[in-house]
Symmetry: C2
Subunit: 358 residues, 2 copies
Amino acid sequence: MTVETVAWTGLLPGKVRLVDQTRLPLACVYVETDDVAVLCDAIRRLVVRGAPAIGVAAAYGVVLAVQAHADAPGVDVVGRAKEACAFLASSRPTAVNLFWALERMARRAERELLARRSGAEIVSALHAEARAIHAEDAAACRRMGELGAAFLKDGATVLTHCNSGALATGGMGTALAPIYVAKERGLSVRVFADETRPLLQGARLTAWELANAGIDVTLITDGMAARVFGEGKIDAVFVGADRIARNGDVCNKIGTYGVAILAREHGVPFYVVAPVSTFDAKIAHGGAIPIEERAAEEVTQGFGARTAPPGVRVYNPAFDVTPARLVTAIVTEAGVITAPDEQKVVELLARAHPPSRS
Amino acid sequence: MTVETVAWTGLLPGKVRLVDQTRLPLACVYVETDDVAVLCDAIRRLVVRGAPAIGVAAAYGVVLAVQAHADAPGVDVVGRAKEACAFLASSRPTAVNLFWALERMARRAERELLARRSGAEIVSALHAEARAIHAEDAAACRRMGELGAAFLKDGATVLTHCNSGALATGGMGTALAPIYVAKERGLSVRVFADETRPLLQGARLTAWELANAGIDVTLITDGMAARVFGEGKIDAVFVGADRIARNGDVCNKIGTYGVAILAREHGVPFYVVAPVSTFDAKIAHGGAIPIEERAAEEVTQGFGARTAPPGVRVYNPAFDVTPARLVTAIVTEAGVITAPDEQKVVELLARAHPPSRS
């Protein structure tokens, strides 16, 4: 039902197919390649974006790099795989999932080499590993969707901010997954999508992917959200997260904190949907999360035309922090924590990553 | 210090000079004309906008229509003046000040005719009336500025939304007037300007006019306001109003209600600055104010380029209503009412418009 943001096509050798997100929302065009250099460039140019989706694409990229060399000795295949990992890791600087996925691919390659597998067997194992990364991401999205859908009644209207949907993951998304699951269950759910200035991910991506999936979506500017809440139109807020601190403070796209305040003011529950990997247990609270400030031009000429006076001072933080006290619940693939605090977060992480019994 | 949005140049005959706001913020270009048709077209094309500024420009337009006919009999001059009033009234549909100013000009013309004045005397009287309308607007702006500046300390930082500045009036503006007066008094005041989607009046007009007047201004997107409040950067909010109900509920540009909620959440005072003419005593509360919904294209392709999927549903209310309970004070030229309610509004209006002793 949702768009297939990243796909492996064919068997082995095969290709990677990406929705070209630089062409959305005006055209849904696919990029298909069996060239790891083309894939790396696609990650760099934001043809594919969203941390989980990048991780999946990069894992497949490693397979592209080795699949033509199945006849080579195992050691050569592993060498090529590790070269590809280093190359792909240079594509984007901050997405944690990118490095995590590439390290997992490199470890699998080494494990296979230690087990004295042939080149062909290693290529096949790497393909299996990439497919597993993809499948696990899709399963985590679906699980978050199922857990989050419990908070949606038939006829509910949801407000979301930015894009935490299928276009950002290898599955049905995070914040949008409960909406897709609710629809599968036959519930009628409407969505108001904040356009999400400055980069308009809500207008360009969320409005597109929801409409494409047959969900009733209405686009508003960020400043209209308060009126929509005041009109009693919103039953729940669902947003994603870029990082969650140990005390449950949530770092997400700029504007999220304001939405959380509006939700509280109007008595509307505010749900954060994010995989367990989003938690950063080393960070005690949201104030300790570094917030990237981006170029003034995103605000002053984000759409080609210049819309602010030359030389004007601009403040352009890319993220903000919503304190845990404004979060009704955090929905993860390992369970839901309501009224999050440090103890509940630590318990969730312990459940999700049980210590090995060595 | 502030930009002269509308000016009469020369004596009689003279010209009207307007800042061409369709060219801002990229160029500050003036339109100067002695042709009432050109002036009417300028109002229609938003070369001049903002209800008080439109009223002043239209009053001068009546003078343009009659000044070449000072040698004609008085009855002919008055006929031409009334024709011009009807013509100018067709330029914009909703700005109350436009009709108010034109009615005042028409009444003055009739009064002069009843007093058997000559054509030349009537032209001169209409010129005086237009100048009086302009001067009264400028004086009201200054008075609001003086009263509002009392809420600003040296070093204060103000957040504002949309443009309620000199560019919207025949004087130093409404919401921005306290900032200009504070600067005249030697205080250092900084401003954060919400860009104010969809039409970007904050980015295009407020950032330009403040920078032009030497005020330290920082542009943010509407969704960044919550973070800026959370960082403790804002000491006061100043906004204008399009209409104020009898109970003190304030209708203003979409996004204002959200700013008011953020201000209350962070313990920051929220001031509304507007002339007495903004009150609509016939409207009991904000819920009874009709809210204009505008075209989807303002949201989906407000910058030339299309930034949302074709056919997407859009909700685009142009205004919202801030309940009186979120308003710290309303600043008018006739005085300040803190914690506004119906009794205080009725008393203010009675003071401003004392009943005639007939």
